[in-house]
Symmetry: C2
Subunit: 127 residues, 2 copies
């Protein structure tokens, strides 16, 4: 079973465009509500399906935080900070990526594809 040819979809591109324009690492639900304003017929299932597909195509990345998936159109190496008070996600300026990536080679656990580093605490606003 080779992978099916992908057809253009207005919904998919609207979802991608929405995610690309924001920096708050939204959930599927948040993207859904936002894009629905533009495409009222939009279905939540369509959002999930396309986010998953965009992720497979490496046009975005996902990370699970607090049991919920958060999406990020920035696929560059960077880490996140989760505020346990307001539950918002922030980008960090952590530059340990290369360091940890190098270490991945020596973990002796198997083949490391990627890694994810998440910081937890209380953001400036909430302090």
């Amino acid at each position: 079973m080779s992978k099916a040819i992908q057809k253009f979809s207005r919904q998919r591109e609207a979802i991608y465009k929405n995610l690309s324009s924001r920096y708050d690492h939204p959930t599927a639900e948040q993207i859904y509500l936002d894009v629905k304003a533009e495409i009222p017929s939009l279905s939540l299932g369509t959002v999930y399906r396309n986010l998953s597909q965009l992720c497979t195509d490496n046009r975005l990345q996902v990370f699970n935080c607090g049991g919920i998936e958060h999406f990020d159109a920035n696929t560059d190496n960077h880490y996140h900070f989760f505020c346990e008070s307001c539950r918002k996600l922030y980008d960090t300026n952590s530059d340990t990526f290369k360091f940890i990536d190098d270490e991945s080679e020596n973990l002796n656990v198997g083949q490391v594809r990627t890694h994810n580093l998440m910081f937890y605490g209380t953001c400036k606003n909430c302090l």
Copy 2:
């Protein structure tokens, strides 16, 4: 509302004892099935409630992996490797903790309480 006094519970200690004796980072369901052999009346809700309580008391740690909570009675600083094929979790010998912990001070995002580093890939068995 001050925190309620905690009473002894056979179930809670059995759950903690079970988790302490294993190194496979089980889910609540797995702990439930295991402890139920010893306490047949055990309820899944009781397992969740006590795991959450033990976590608050810092007797164990949780991390969400693949959308599911995994528990670990080893509260020492260490990181994990998740095999995307068999979906098992392994401890790693990564020793970047101090390095990342130091960096936490300089993130300029607020107050960092802790961090979590997770590696993803394919384990030796599955390769």
